[in-house]
């Protein structure tokens, strides 16, 4: 088998041509043997040596920096010690100590398990902690579509872009422009409701309702697959129309839960 072959190769190399292996590699082989590692591919030695060189070089360079900072002409043991210490705290951290963990655990375990609300659709954390928001923004020529830009940074925004439908909870027309310019402004319309609307592409400030924009499935989950040709960025149900969509809305209560944690 290949693995046995490689071991044989490792052994062979050691025995047949000891002089051609550099001293560092011989030392590394000895270290592995001392630590009880007997089976390894020959590339492991190269990897270990690479790590050793990189580590030592980093330490010495750091030490040189510290020495020059202290206006010393030579690097001495204290600099090296300091360099090692700093690197340890940065790269080679170890997990927190046991008593700290016990204390944290004790506090955490005191709170009772939260009750589970029934019939709430996919049980996910508040959107802020999910990876379900779009991470891009489509730049569009028309103003009406660019209102969707406001949704990017704060998915919780209720952006009223559609003025066409009297039933939609939206702001008046002026909000369209304001939202586009200041992307970050939280324009909260309905107060408690988190809704995001789809601007159908042909939407204008006319009063004519355009293509039906009441998707049956309104999972925030399916965002990524919506990058269709239709220029629709986020879809949820249209709150206004159907009262049956409550279960699918991410209410602010969720965020309240978060805040009290």
């Amino acid at each position: 088998s290949r693995r046995r072959g490689s071991e044989g190769a490792a052994r062979e190399v050691k025995m047949s041509a000891p002089k051609t292996i550099p001293k560092d590699a011989q030392v590394m082989i000895q270290i592995l043997k001392d630590m009880g590692i007997t089976e390894y591919e020959p590339r492991v030695i190269n990897q270990m040596l690479e790590f050793t060189y990189r580590y030592v070089t980093t330490i010495i360079e750091d030490a040189k920096t510290y020495a020059s900072h202290a206006n010393k002409s030579n690097v001495d043991a204290d600099d090296i010690r300091l360099a090692i210490q700093c690197r340890m705290d940065q790269s080679f951290t170890s997990p927190p100590p046991r008593d700290f963990l016990l204390e944290v655990a004790r506090q955490k375990n005191q709170t009772p398990l939260p009750l589970i609300k029934p019939y709430t659709g996919p049980r996910l954390p508040p959107d802020r902690y999910c990876l379900t928001a779009p991470n891009y923004r489509l730049k569009s020529i028309q103003k009406k579509v660019s209102s969707s830009a406001g949704r990017i940074s704060v998915p919780r925004l209720s952006v009223g872009a559609v003025t066409s439908r009297p039933t939609t909870p939206t702001l008046g027309t002026p909000s369209v422009q304001s939202v586009t310019t200041k992307v970050g402004t939280p324009v909260s319309l309905t107060g408690q409701r988190f809704t995001v609307q789809i601007p159908p592409p042909s939407q204008t400030t006319t009063t004519k309702p355009t293509t039906p924009s009441t998707p049956a499935v309104s999972n925030v989950l399916i965002n990524p697959s919506l990058i269709g040709s239709k220029n629709i960025l986020i879809t949820t149900n249209m709150v206004s129309q159907n009262s049956g969509g409550e279960s699918l809305k991410r209410k602010h209560e969720d965020d309240d839960d978060y805040d009290t944690l």
Binding site: S1, R2, R3, D34, M35, G36, M88, F92, S94, P95, P96, P97, R98, D99, F100, L101, L102, E103, V104, A105, K108, N109, T111, L113, P114, L115, I116, P118, Y119, P122, R123, L124, P125, P126, Y129, C130, L131, T132, I198, P212, S213, T214, P215, A216, V217, S218, L221, I222, P224, S225, L226, G228, K230, I232, T235, Y258, L261
Partner: protein, 751 residues
């Protein structure tokens, strides 16, 4: 039991100086004294003034001299003068004694053990900087061998006497134990290993490198073979700095090694050690060992070997006394749409151990509340949705067609081999109905395949979903986008190898845990990542969904396991207590308990409701890599790198079986659907089937064994082994019984 030793003459000092309670729960005497001596120099002068009222015993003298030296070292000449005057000491009365009695020395120094432990963690160091510096200074002084007083009294890791004499003490103890009666010898030999390690660590800590090395060389060969790994790690540890970054070692130092010794053997040991002049060993035992005494026959070597091997000794008896509700939750009543043949099939089967109710309408009468089962609302569980009810109906239908397994009716095994994985396959999971298989890889991808001919499809985009007829019967098919149909899907998101993977019971979600410290939730409708749960900042070695969904558990390198709910971005429970990484996490079938296996070679059972550890199982000699609960919830099987499968009775907290046969790490364990057969898969490229019914049937748990936790294990591995199936060169990393009791296995071809 381990009473802190007396021999302290300095009662006054203790009462006068106020100290903070020690976090590690060391004896108050020690803590007080320790802090006295490491407190700022200002207070030590007041100490001196107190001392003059106490009788100047030899111990007092020692302490005084030590304090004097300390003050001198720090050039506090005025305080030196005051102290000398008040204590009435003559000038230059430094009287180095090679072996002062342990009284003052241990008393003073012992308390500082936890202070030094605090060095490593900023949180424990309630001691001020000066005191830790104070503790450090004398240890530096200890390097200069001319003043052993200071080092003994003030050094961190209570150096009990001359380091060169450690060999002598150990050898004497060895000789004593060898001359003891046979029946006691096995028990007393348990003391060797922890004593050896602690003495070695003391020498290292106090910078006696050469003595430490000599001590190690002389006595490391005597230790039990299963401690070989630990000893090898110790052999590389020769300086104090090496100890600092090693969390496991620090935990080992600060936690007590538990030994179970019968009263008679213990009396022997105690008498022998106390009658000697220099009973340093006795003090070390007091310090670092917890001796759980039981009344009864001393244990034999084989019994001891079966239970020992973990990093912290065995488990205290009290640790396994909590009541554990290991019964199963009642299944909900579901209207089963039966046609005639299904009804008949159901009526014929009278399997008492099956999880599902036999007949829905009639079954409710026979099901009284099982006293060993938790109540339905002990922990909140998600409600049953319509889709879940449909799943349950499918489950029951399949269960009627299940093959009854047994020693004369072995399951067929179907092996799914991952080709071209190049040693990158790190985790595998299958859904309960065996329709999907997922693999986690070292290149940080997660791939899902369909086991059935049905392809994997993504859900349509929102606009398309508008157009479908929501009222039609096959709406669930219509929401799927045919254009995306494929045999497998790849999901990217992790930034490190994926070590744990788990499907949700409703097949909507997939969890994966990775070396990058996150646990990711993926949707199996859109095949995209939904949430990344951050909490472990170190590799997460395993994760699993609860059998009812909604909760999941994860365990990793940071030595804790966390319980999460999918809709909380922070964990709900933190299970802390292990001394080393947690390598395996499993839910109990009733979702009220979580079992974790760890590199410290113990298995702990945690209560989800309170977060407490309710059981500790020791006995494995290597890190545990696989756990499996029996379907009836009563038993737990575990496999480790030592190649043995151990069986545990959860209710009593005892080991009830040992299955030997594998020659390499066991990475997968699974009980058959009715619990008759246990399948184990290992790195030695084999799958072995064991007779679980038989293993659990012959149990004799009379009162004595239940009380003391000793059980006579029969060496019947050979009889219990029903079959060994070898693969060509594929280690088995996952096993799964389908609902009809066909065994599926998975692994990556490794030529």
């Amino acid at each position: 039991m381990a009473a802190v030793q007396g021999g302290m003459g300095d009662a006054d000092i203790k009462t006068d100086i106020k100290t903070e309670p020690s976090a590690d729960g060391f004896g108050n005497n020690n803590a007080n004294d320790g802090r006295v001596l490491s407190a700022s120099p200002g207070s030590s002068s007041s100490t001196g003034s107190n001392k003059q009222t106490a009788a100047v015993t030899p111990e007092d003298q020692q302490t005084l001299l030590a304090v004097l030296q300390f003050l001198k070292k720090n050039k506090l000449s005025e305080s030196v003068e005051i102290l000398r005057r008040e204590a009435g000491l003559p000038e230059n009365s430094l009287d180095p004694k090679a072996n002062e009695s342990a009284g003052a020395g241990s008393g003073g120094a012992a308390g500082i053990v936890d202070l030094e432990g605090g060095d490593a963690s900023s949180l424990l160091s309630r001691v001020t900087g000066s005191s830790s510096a104070g503790a450090q200074a004398p240890t530096k002084a200890a390097v200069a061998e001319d003043q052993p007083d200071v080092s003994v009294v003030l050094s961190a890791y209570s150096q009990q006497g001359d380091p060169t004499l450690y060999k002598v003490y150990y050898r004497d103890l060895k000789k004593f134990i060898e001359t003891v009666l046979d029946c006691h010898r096995a028990e007393l030999s348990q003391v060797f290993y922890p004593l050896f390690v602690h003495m070695y660590l003391e020498l290292v800590y106090n910078n006696h490198e050469s003595e430490a090395k000599a001590f190690f060389e002389k006595f490391s060969g005597d230790q039990e073979c299963y401690y070989e790994e630990d000893l090898r790690i110790l052999s590389g540890l020769t300086k104090k700095e090496h100890m600092r970054g090693n969390e496991t070692l620090l935990d080992f130092r600060t936690s007590k090694f538990v030994l179970r010794i019968s009263r008679d053997s213990y009396q022997l040991l105690k008498r022998h050690l106390q009658e000697r002049q220099n009973n340093q060993i006795w003090n070390i035992i007091q310090e670092h060992l917890y001796i759980d005494i039981f009344d009864g026959m001393p244990r034999s070597k084989s019994q001891i070997d079966a239970m020992s091997g973990s990093l912290a000794g065995e488990a205290k008896r009290e640790a396994n006394k909590t009541k554990v509700y290991y019964g199963l939750l009642k299944e909900p009543e579901i209207e089963l749409p039966l046609d005639d043949e299904d009804e008949e099939a159901e009526n014929e089967e009278g399997k008492p151990k099956k999880k599902k109710p036999k007949k829905d309408s009639v079954g409710s009468k026979s099901k009284k509340q099982d006293p060993n089962a938790p109540s339905q609302n002990r922990i909140p569980l998600p409600e049953l949705k319509d889709s879940d009810k449909l799943d349950k109906i499918m489950y029951m239908k399949e269960a009627t067609k299940r093959i009854r397994l047994g020693p004369d009716n072995l399951p067929s095994v179907c092996f799914y081999t991952f080709l071209n994985a190049y040693q990158g396959l790190t985790a595998v999971d299958l859904t309960d109905d065996s329709s999907l298989i997922a693999g986690g890889f070292a290149d940080s991808t997660v791939r899902v395949w369909s086991v059935t001919p049905k392809k994997l499809r993504k859900v349509k985009s929102a606009a398309d979903l508008n157009l479908i007829d929501k009222e039609s019967d096959d709406v669930l098919e219509r929401i799927m986008d045919e254009k995306t149909a494929s045999e497998s899907k790849i999901m990217y998101g992790h930034s490190g190898p994926v070590y744990g993977i788990s499907f949700s019971p409703d097949r909507n979600y997939l969890l994966s845990s990775s070396e990058d410290g996150t646990v990711r939730l993926w949707s199996l409708l859109t095949f995209t990542c939904l949430v990344a749960y951050k909490g472990h900042n170190y590799p997460v070695w395993d994760t699993q969904f609860s059998p009812y969904g909604y909760y999941f558990v994860s365990g990793g390198h940071d030595r804790v396991a966390r319980l999460w709910a999918t809709d909380h971005y922070q964990p709900l429970r933190i299970f802390s207590g292990h001394l080393a990484d947690i390598t395996c996490t499993r839910f109990h079938p009733n979702s009220n308990y979580v079992a974790t296996g760890s590199s410290d070679r113990t298995i702990r059972l945690w209560d989800v409701l309170s977060g407490n550890c309710v059981r500790i199982f020791t006995g494995h000699k290597g890190p545990i890599h696989s756990l499996a609960f029996s379907p009836n919830g009563k038993f737990l099987a575990s496999g480790a790198t030592d190649g043995r499968v151990l069986l545990w009775d959860i209710g009593h907290g005892l080991m009830v079986g040992e299955l030997k046969g594998h020659t390499d790490t066991i990475y997968s364990l699974r009980f058959s659907r009715d619990g008759e057969i246990l399948a184990s898969g290992s790195m030695d490229n084999t799958v072995r089937l064991w007779d679980a019914m038989k293993a659990f049937d012959d149990l004799e748990t009379d009162d004595f064994t239940a009380a003391t936790g000793h059980i006579h294990l029969q060496d019947n591995s050979q009889e219990l082994l029903l079959g060994t199936y070898t693969t060509k060169s594929t280690p088995v990393i996952h096993l799964h019984f389908t609902r009809r009791n066909l065994l599926l296995a998975a692994g990556a071809f490794n030529p």
